[in-house]
């Protein structure tokens, strides 16, 4: 008898296989943040203070791209093409389905963080992370938060054609305002306040503490609280508003 855990594993294996067979998804969700790291790393070569900011910023962006962006795209596509409806008619437990899908996103996030850490050590003059425990806490919370927000956001997107517009309307402003590419101290106060209230900036703060500056978890609890609030908000709407099929209009 297939149990829920085995089926979660099988769904995860299928998701992994499909991920690498879909070049555009692999590019946008996986390679793009790494390319940005390469470009900006080259531009900022020799400016250690800038590099120290860039690497955790890219790590935060990677978490958002592999979870929020990837899941919003996937869920809308599967919903609009009728795959979700078909799956809903099978005995695959809902928890196994989402477990497999989420584990796939987590794997991508984990792989990227690992690559970014190694690149930071080898190319950008940043040592190994100072606080591994803090790193794990922030990556985990960030992944859960952005994955939930991605699934919740899928509900807002009316059809697949408009998905890039919706997703980028959120993704691009958030990564710019959150100081992935520049020092956020140089931006106007009100924008900084907005950034502090969104989940990416707190995630980058935490990652920066863990990877570069050595600011500990206890000093970053407010950042963790913001991520937690967004995560709770995302989870509530991900479950509440979830739609398995195209709306009938």
């Amino acid at each position: 008898m297939p149990d829920a855990l085995t089926l979660t594993w099988r769904q995860y294996r299928l998701e992994r296989r499909m991920f690498w067979r879909n070049p555009s998804a692999a590019f946008f969700n996986f390679l793009l943040p790494l390319l940005f790291l390469g470009f900006f790393g080259a531009i900022l070569h020799g400016k250690q203070a800038d590099l120290d900011r860039l690497v955790p910023g890219i790590a935060g962006m990677s978490v958002m791209a592999t979870t929020f962006t990837a899941l919003a795209y996937n869920i809308v596509f599967l919903r609009e093409s009728g795959v979700l409806k078909r799956i809903r008619g099978t005995p695959l437990p809902t928890i196994s389905y989402f477990g497999g899908v989420a584990a796939n996103a987590v794997t991508n996030a984990g792989l990227q963080i690992a690559i970014i850490i190694v690149a930071g050590r080898v190319f950008f003059g940043i040592g190994w992370p100072v606080h591994w425990g803090e790193l794990v806490v922030f990556v985990t919370c960030g992944v859960v938060c952005f994955a939930a927000l991605g699934v919740a956001f899928a509900h807002v997107i009316p059809n697949f054609e408009s998905t890039p517009a919706y997703v980028n309307a959120v993704f691009l402003p958030v990564i710019f305002v959150s100081g992935v590419f520049y020092d956020i101290k140089n931006v106007p106060t009100f924008l900084r306040t907005v950034a502090e209230a969104l989940p990416l900036k707190p995630l980058i703060d935490g990652l920066s503490g863990a990877m570069v500056t050595g600011v500990g978890l206890s000093a970053n609890l407010d950042a963790l609280a913001v991520i937690g609030l967004w995560g709770a908000f995302g989870l509530y709407f991900a479950v509440r508003g979830f739609s398995w099929e195209q709306s009938r209009t």
Binding site: L14, R17, M18, R86, T90, P91
Partner: protein, 285 residues
């Protein structure tokens, strides 16, 4: 639950979408091993009814039992025993039919052999081709295959051959017949008369959310009172006469013809077909 309990029982089913009443009091019983057809024009409420039975929609009122379960509870136990061919269900584009079937088979306690299902659905040659490269007809065969791989007792087919060319339709009909031979219960919706006539043991004609007639396709035709006698007269004009007593009418006609030396070309006696009944019942008043 005894083995003789019907596969599906529906009593006074209603479903409203806001102001609009899609289903307005449907009663049907589908026996085990039966192929039951819901026949009706587009918008008659067929798909709504089937999707309530499949567990996709919640009914507004009425009683529904599918293999002894209330489908609205969406129990995994029930979903292990049913197979669903949706009107338009998507499939992952980046995996092959064989991979999809293997994955689907893992959901079920006693799945059928994947190779056997590929052969039954006529997908052997395309078994290792990415699904996004399959034609519409091949994707529809994959729909069938995915619904069969769990070895379900009860199979729902929502307009299974819409958009098929004649050869593909006959292939699909053969698949359905082979499922009947395996003792499966099948509920199918269609707006094709010939499909209902060919496949269904019993048919319910549905319009505006109500059942207008129910019975075996042949008896539905025969249930109507009159026979139709037609022939061409001496001038070649086609004469059609309706009668409840064809014997007397034929005796009279042939007697007159013999006397006058007429031939009664193209003489035929017909019962109303399912088509006649369907058109009469579903005609807009």
């Amino acid at each position: 639950m005894s083995a003789a309990a019907p596969a599906i029982e529906v009593r006074d089913l209603h479903k409203s979408y806001g102001e609009y009443e899609a289903v307005r009091g449907i009663d049907i019983t589908v026996e085990r091993g039966e192929v039951f057809g819901l026949l009706g024009p587009n918008g008659a409420g067929k798909t709504t009814t089937v999707e309530i039975l499949e567990g996709y929609r919640e009914r507004t009122s009425g009683e529904v039992s599918v293999l002894g379960h209330d489908p609205a509870e969406r129990s995994i136990e029930l979903r292990r025993r049913i197979g669903i061919v949706l009107q338009s269900g998507g499939i992952y584009g980046h995996i092959t039919p064989r991979e999809a079937l293997r994955h689907w088979a893992s959901f079920y306690p006693h799945p059928r052999d994947v190779e056997e299902v590929l052969a039954l659905a006529g997908l052997m040659e395309k078994a290792d081709v990415a699904s996004r490269k399959l034609s519409g007809g091949q994707l529809r065969r994959l729909d069938f295959a995915l619904a069969l791989v769990g070895d379900a007792e009860l199979i729902f087919l929502d307009e299974p051959t819409t958009g098929f060319d004649p050869a593909a339709r006959h292939a699909a009909w053969e698949t359905v017949s082979s499922l009947r031979d395996l003792g499966k219960t099948i509920l199918l919706t269609t707006h094709y008369l010939d499909e209902a006539q060919e496949l269904a043991d019993r048919v319910a004609i549905v319009k505006d959310g109500r059942v207008l007639a129910i019975g075996p396709p042949r008896e539905l035709g025969a249930g109507a009172a009159s026979y139709r006698v037609s022939y061409r007269d001496a001038s070649g004009r086609l004469i059609e006469r309706e009668t409840e007593d064809p014997t007397t009418l034929l005796h009279q006609l042939t007697g007159e013809a013999l006397q006058s030396g007429e031939r009664l070309k193209e003489l035929s006696v017909g019962r109303p077909t399912l088509e006649d009944v369907y058109l009469e019942l579903t005609a807009d008043a």
